[in-house]
């Protein structure tokens, strides 16, 4: 795998997709559970309330109809105890007796008359007095010493006394608690599993996309023969790869067409130029060098300029279409610059120009040596032609991780502000320029073909600045 996969997995799209999917899944299941839980809890309460209302009515009838004699307490107490036995008591931790149900009869003043249940009923009485329970509607009652509130129903009988029947829902609530715990565990497991599955599939899907991206980025300016990897599956990613490859086929084809056109154009123009030049040269050597030779000589020189113009035009045309053909090898940019400065220095000092190079030592890049030679020659020719006498040219060569950068600064008049936005276009030249306006376009073409970038502008303190960035 390339360096691109080395970045943390948290930054990948697969990670984000699985995170959001898992979040949605987790929220959804949680919502469903809360709803179910609420439904079950409500149902439990409804059942308890129905039972309580029925029982308290029956007990009220019994209390009313039982004569108030010595047996009253026993009769009512036994009926209440019987009712209490209908309620299962699985949680015996609190004691041996069933404390999940109590029966209490109080006088109109609130004094206890009859207590059936576990313990003395003191706390229950205190709680009931504090809570003022309305008859016929069961309510929650918190009693000290019990973690779970009682559900209490009350009724008033004819003699003015009140009957309270209390029921603890702790068994049902215990079941609910266990359900909650199990669900939570299961939910966590499901969420993790879901995340894993989504991440795995998304990662696999997207790694194919990443491989396509990597392959596509490797398909450089000059090498169009490579293709992106395809998968056997006919899904979206598979067809993306196929579409990309079809597109590359078409691009390669038009590139080939372009090369054929420029090659034949070059051939068709160069052959007559060769013949003309040769014949001129022959007439020159035949008549030796006398005054008559002057026109011939200047024609030959014009022909050479025309040839160079033709070469540059075709190079720029190809480069504008990202189709410049390069033969790359390792070159030392610093050494190359020193040799070229050595070549140009006499011409420059003849014109009163000074040139200097600042550099941090040898700088190896992968580039087409002949193209770089021609590019630098263009750069220097430009300076030679446009700088007034007594100007200085400073070259700064430096390298960092992103590549090599060559900064050229002079203290001449700078670029004509009118043409500044169009510097790298063909045929653009300053009003006073006598060139054919290909120099900077050619420089831009060569640098772009190497995968670099050029920028040009004027310095604040006057003079031009050209910055060339080339990859290593």
């Amino acid at each position: 795998m390339s360096s691109k996969t080395a970045k943390p997995v948290m930054h990948s799209a697969a990670w984000r997709i699985s995170l959001w999917a898992t979040l949605a899944f987790a929220c959804g299941t949680l919502l469903v559970f809360v709803f179910l839980h609420q439904f079950v809890a409500n149902d439990i309460q409804r059942r308890s309330d129905a039972w309580l209302s029925g029982e308290v009515e029956v007990l009220g009838d019994v209390a009313e109809q039982t004569p108030k004699n010595a047996l009253y307490d026993r009769v009512v107490g036994e009926v209440a105890e019987l009712a209490g036995k209908e309620v299962p008591n699985k949680d015996l931790s609190a004691g041996t007796s069933n404390d999940s149900v109590f029966f209490l009869q109080t006088s109109a003043g609130g004094a206890p008359m009859l207590w059936v249940g576990a313990g003395s009923g003191e706390e229950n009485l205190k709680a009931i007095r504090a809570a003022r329970i309305a008859p016929d509607r069961p309510t929650d009652l918190r009693v000290r010493g019990f973690g779970i509130p009682f559900r209490v129903a009350a009724t008033r009988i004819d003699d003015g006394s009140y009957i309270y029947l209390g029921l603890s829902e702790r068994d049902e609530l215990r079941v609910l608690r266990i359900m909650r715990l199990r669900f939570l565990l299961l939910w966590l497991l499901l969420v993790l599993l879901g995340f894993g599955i989504v991440f795995y599939t998304a990662h696999r899907m997207l790694s194919l996309v990443r491989r396509i991206t990597e392959a596509a980025s490797r398909i450089g300016h000059s090498d169009l023969s490579a293709r992106v990897p395809t998968s056997a599956r006919r899904d979206e990613v598979g067809s993306l790869a196929l579409t990309l490859n079809h597109m590359l086929d078409r691009i390669e084809n038009s590139m080939h067409q372009l090369h054929t056109i420029t090659d034949s154009l070059a051939h068709d123009l160069r052959s007559p130029l060769t013949a003309i030049r040769g014949k001129l040269e022959m007439s020159l050597s035949a008549g030796s060098l006398d005054d008559n030779s002057e026109p011939i000589v200047s024609v030959i020189e014009e022909l050479d300029r025309l040839t160079e113009f033709l070469n540059k035009s075709l190079d720029v045309a190809e480069a504008k279409a990202d189709a410049l053909r390069l033969t790359r090898c390792e070159i030392d940019l610093e050494e190359l610059l020193r040799i070229m400065i050595d070549l140009y220095e006499p011409s420059m000092s003849e014109k009163g120009l000074q040139i200097s190079l600042q550099s941090g030592g040898p700088l190896k890049i992968e580039a087409d040596e002949a193209m770089i030679h021609r590019m630098i020659a263009n750069l220097f020719d430009n300076e030679l032609k446009h700088l007034p006498a007594a100007s200085t040219i400073n070259l700064l060569l430096k390298a960092d991780e992103s590549g090599a950068s060559l900064i050229l600064e002079d203290d001449g008049p700078g670029f004509d502000p009118e043409i500044l936005p169009h510097l790298f276009e063909r045929r653009v030249k300053g009003r006073k320029s006598n060139g054919h306006g290909l120099g900077l376009a050619f420089i831009d073409a060569v640098v772009r073909a190497h995968g670099g970038a050029v920028s040009a502008g004027n310095r604040d303190c006057g003079g031009a600045r050209i910055i060339i960035n080339l990859p290593l």
């Binding site: 051939h267 013949a275 014949k279 000589v297 022909l303 050595d342 002949a370 030679h373």
Partner: protein, 225 residues
């Protein structure tokens, strides 16, 4: 020297034939691959000039075919194409040379001489070069004219050495750029001329017979007579 010229453009073929014959070569010409093949196998040539754009066969394929048929002579490839084919580079490695059209006759002749020299047994490398009263000590990198030491920069010495090695023959600006600076460029400006002016200022002192002569539109020549 027997030379086979394979070129389909009649104009180019005719002026090349004339110039080459003037330069002392015995020239046979062919306008297509088939004729070239017949001629090359029958007659023994010392050197071949092959144009890449032939009507019936690609120039490179022709050269490779001739090599298979046992033709050993070095080849100067003429190309009107824009890019230098990888196979041309291959041939260049193998001792052949190439020249892009249009070219200066002087350069063509110089490259032919080079190819012939490369194929002949190397003469023992001289450590001194002498042209008239100009003398170069190649070991000490020192040049003298009439016994007077010339103050030359290392680059000027290399340039003068190149002119001396080609004394009496025309060298073009692009030949100088190629051989002295190692680059195939065509500057818009007179960079080579300025080097020559400076060198001439040092070599041809006042009152001395000028040795370095400019042939405008062609190049330079170091006189040996």
């Amino acid at each position: 020297m027997r030379l086979l010229l394979v070129e389909d453009e009649i104009d180019i073929q005719s002026f090349l034939r004339t110039s080459l014959e003037e330069a002392g070569y015995e020239v046979e010409a062919a306008a297509d691959g088939k004729t070239a093949e017949l001629l090359a196998v029958d007659g023994s040539f010392d050197i071949l000039i092959v144009d890449l754009g032939l009507p019936d066969i690609d120039g490179i394929s022709l050269i490779l075919k001739l090599r298979q048929l046992g033709v050993r002579a070095p080849v100067l490839i003429l190309s009107a194409r824009r890019s230098v084919d990888d196979r041309v580079r291959g041939l260049e490695q193998g001792g052949d040379d190439y020249l892009t059209k249009p070219f200066a006759l002087a350069e063509l002749l110089a490259r032919l001489r080079n190819l012939l020299r490369r194929n002949s047994p190397p003469a023992s490398e001289a450590t001194r070069l002498r042209v008239l009263d100009l003398e170069l000590d190649l070991l000490r990198r020192e040049a003298t004219r009439s016994g007077q030491i010339l103050q030359l920069t290392p680059q000027e010495f290399v340039l003068l050495e190149y002119l001396c090695r080609n004394a009496g023959r025309v060298v073009t600006r692009s030949m100088i750029l190629d051989k002295v600076w190692g680059m195939r460029i065509q500057p818009d400006t007179n960079v080579v001329d300025v080097h020559i002016y400076r060198l001439r200022g040092k070599v041809d002192g006042p009152g001395q017979k000028p040795l370095i002569r400019t042939l405008r539109g062609v190049g330079y020549v170091l006189k040996d007579r």
